[in-house]
């Protein structure tokens, strides 16, 4: 770690505290004693932030080049190693696109929130790349994805019902993360980050166990975190599904050998399908009508459930917890005072002001909670509808939403072999 020591004189004197208690007068030294010089280590963030952003763009560029021009996995593996070493271990996993969702969301609604430029860059750049090239960020630039990719040995397929059910979790996680961020409560993505303890070589024991368990799982099945937990992956899948360019298994004729389907660690290669049953017109009209009824019902159910649980969820907010503690104290003044309540009275804050804050936060939780509930209902509804859609495909093709551009299928395809494009 780079340490720069700087003697701070007037430059940092802006926050000088004037009203320190002075019980004892300043000593009158007779022996010619000089006050020692006090030095403060200044943060070294700014230089590294530039390196972070430059490296992010370069690595994304390398992966995009590997997927679309070079069409091999070697550059992606090199990228993964660099990403784990730099973004993971060296930077402690805390220049993180996944967590940046919360900062950006908070900046969208709160004018007073200072959004660091590097956080905005880490949020936007992978999304822009996903819009042009698909999820190249997931392939090897994200240290979490890279770590799971490198330990992956065999990809056992998770049965379809389980995989489909689990793939809703990232959306729910995203909704809750946004709910807690927008109400100024918690950054739960950062709090429950499973890999940060591994990168920092220490931290919350439970989360490290969870991270190790995820890594053990990813030895046998591709990227469990990316597929079933990562909220940023869910966001990127939106953009990659409409991306300008999409990864192709081969540039030659598909021979339908299903090797690519076997090789894909995230089950994103769709097999060919012949839709033999032609649906009657009236039947399909009724089907669409049923969807039109079912999805709003699910959304309403989501809103109802979230509004019901909003008061309990709001406990995640510190001010709400303080309000409850103060109310307990007011109701029962004899009990020993918790440190929070003591500080509350010492700061001269009033119960009225705290009550007003509490009510505002409760309102926020009801408002954003309703939106989150509606979105969760919508996501579940749309995923159910997707299960009923069967499209005719003549050859193996990549599902751009789930493809993480790891490039495994390229080398498996027999059509590509021996033919240099």
């Amino acid at each position: 770690m780079m340490k720069r020591k700087l003697l701070l004189f007037a430059a940092l004197g802006l926050q000088t505290l004037a009203h320190a208690v002075s019980r004892f007068p300043k000593p009158d030294f007779e022996s010619g004693y000089q006050y020692p010089e006090v030095s403060y280590a200044i943060p070294h963030e700014h230089l590294w932030n530039v390196v972070d952003v430059v490296l992010l763009v370069v690595l994304l560029g390398v992966v995009a080049w590997a997927v679309y021009k070079n069409r091999t996995r070697v550059p992606i593996i090199i990228t993964s190693v660099i990403s784990i070493a730099y973004f993971g271990f060296f930077r402690g996993g805390c220049v993180c696109s996944i967590g940046s969702i919360q900062n950006v969301a908070l900046a969208m609604v709160d004018e007073n929130y200072h959004l660091p430029w590097v956080v905005l860059m880490f949020f936007l750049i992978p999304i822009i790349f996903a819009f042009f090239f698909g999820r190249v960020f997931c392939a090897g630039v994200c240290p979490f994805g890279a770590l799971q990719e490198l330990v992956n040995v065999k990809s056992f397929r998770i049965s379809k019902p389980i995989a489909k059910t689990l793939s809703v979790i990232p959306w729910i996680y995203l909704c809750f993360a946004l709910l807690f961020a927008l109400t100024h409560s918690r950054f739960i993505i950062c709090q429950f980050d499973p890999f940060i303890g591994i990168f920092r070589l220490g931290g919350d024991t439970g989360l490290i166990f969870f991270g190790v368990a995820l890594l053990l799982m990813s030895v046998f099945t591709g990227r469990p975190f990316c597929r079933f937990l990562c909220p940023y992956g869910a966001l990127l899948s939106l953009f990659s599904s409409v991306s300008i360019r999409k990864p192709q298994i081969t540039q030659n004729q598909c021979v339908n050998c299903q090797l690519c389907h076997q090789s894909c660690p995230v089950d994103a290669v769709l097999p060919p399908y012949q839709n033999k049953v032609e649906e009657e017109r009236m039947k399909s009209v009724w089907r669409v009508l049923r969807y039109v009824v079912v999805v709003p019902c699910l959304m309403l159910l989501g809103v109802f459930l979230m509004r019901l649980s909003a008061p309990r969820l709001s406990v995640a907010n510190k001010e709400v917890r303080l309000y409850q503690l103060v109310m307990q104290q007011e109701a029962n003044p004899d009990q020993p005072m918790p440190a929070e309540v003591e500080a509350f009275y010492a700061q001269g804050r009033t119960v009225e002001e705290l009550t007003a804050t509490n009510e505002k936060i409760q309102k926020d939780f009801l408002f954003y909670g309703s939106i989150a509930g509606a979105v969760i209902g919508w996501v579940i509804g749309v995923n159910l509808i997707r299960l009923t859609l069967r499209r005719t495909r003549k050859e193996y093709s990549i599902d751009a939403r789930h493809c993480v551009a790891c490039g495994k299928c390229f080398s498996y395809c027999p059509s590509t072999k021996g033919v240099k494009s």
């Binding site: 000088t16 505290l17 300043k26 000593p27 943060p43 900062n103 929130y113 905005l120 953009f239």
Partner: protein, 195 residues
């Protein structure tokens, strides 16, 4: 040669899907521009943007959670000593325990659990106190003593070379007095200069 059914499949639905795909691309592109635009407007000048965590000593109540809740194995919080505020007392509230039986350096008389506070005789009756930051763990016991019985020259600060600058400071989520705040680069430390 294509039969009629294949042709209709080629004509209508593919075009419709293509249209939806393009519509999706436009919406996605618009979303990027929108978020980017609002985001850029929220980014403030580097020197002024609040990117670093720091403890406001005016609010700090030395609840002791800084020592236990930092994500680092040893907390990034350290006690700092504002020498210009210090009274250089012999009987220092941040050095000796209040119930010390004898005024010597025996561990049972010292307030600091790690022996991080050292003192040096200057001249009668003054002693100079220094904090060994390698030993300090940010428990804040001395700060409490100094605030109660002295000038308040000892106070807790987050050392910016040790702090990992987490997206959300873990100590701030449990801080009893909401003393941990984001500060800007120009004011990364709170300084006590005058008594």
């Amino acid at each position: 040669m294509k039969d009629k059914k294949d042709q209709t499949l080629d004509n209508s639905p593919i075009k419709r899907r293509d249209f939806f795909r393009r519509l999706g691309s436009i919406v996605a592109g618009g979303a990027i521009l929108g978020i980017g635009g609002v985001g850029v407007s929220r980014v403030v000048d580097k020197e002024e943007s609040s990117e670093f965590w720091q403890i406001d000593p005016n609010l700090c109540t030395q609840c002791g959670r800084c020592e236990t809740h930092c994500v680092m194995p040893v907390s990034a919080v350290r006690c700092v000593h504002a020498v210009k505020v210090c009274g250089y007392c012999d009987l220092c509230g941040g050095y000796y325990r209040t119930n010390a039986k004898e005024l010597n350096t025996a561990a049972e008389n010292m307030i600091c659990p790690t022996g991080a506070i050292q003192r040096k005789f200057v001249e009668d009756p003054y002693f100079e106190y220094t904090i060994d930051e390698d030993l300090c763990n940010g428990c804040g016991k001395c700060v409490k003593g100094c605030n109660s019985f002295g000038n308040g020259s000892l106070y807790l600060q987050i050392k910016q070379d040790l702090c990992l600058n987490c997206n959300e400071c873990k100590i701030s989520t449990v801080c009893a007095s909401n003393a941990i705040k984001r500060v800007s680069y120009g004011t990364v430390y709170y300084l006590k200069e005058h008594a």
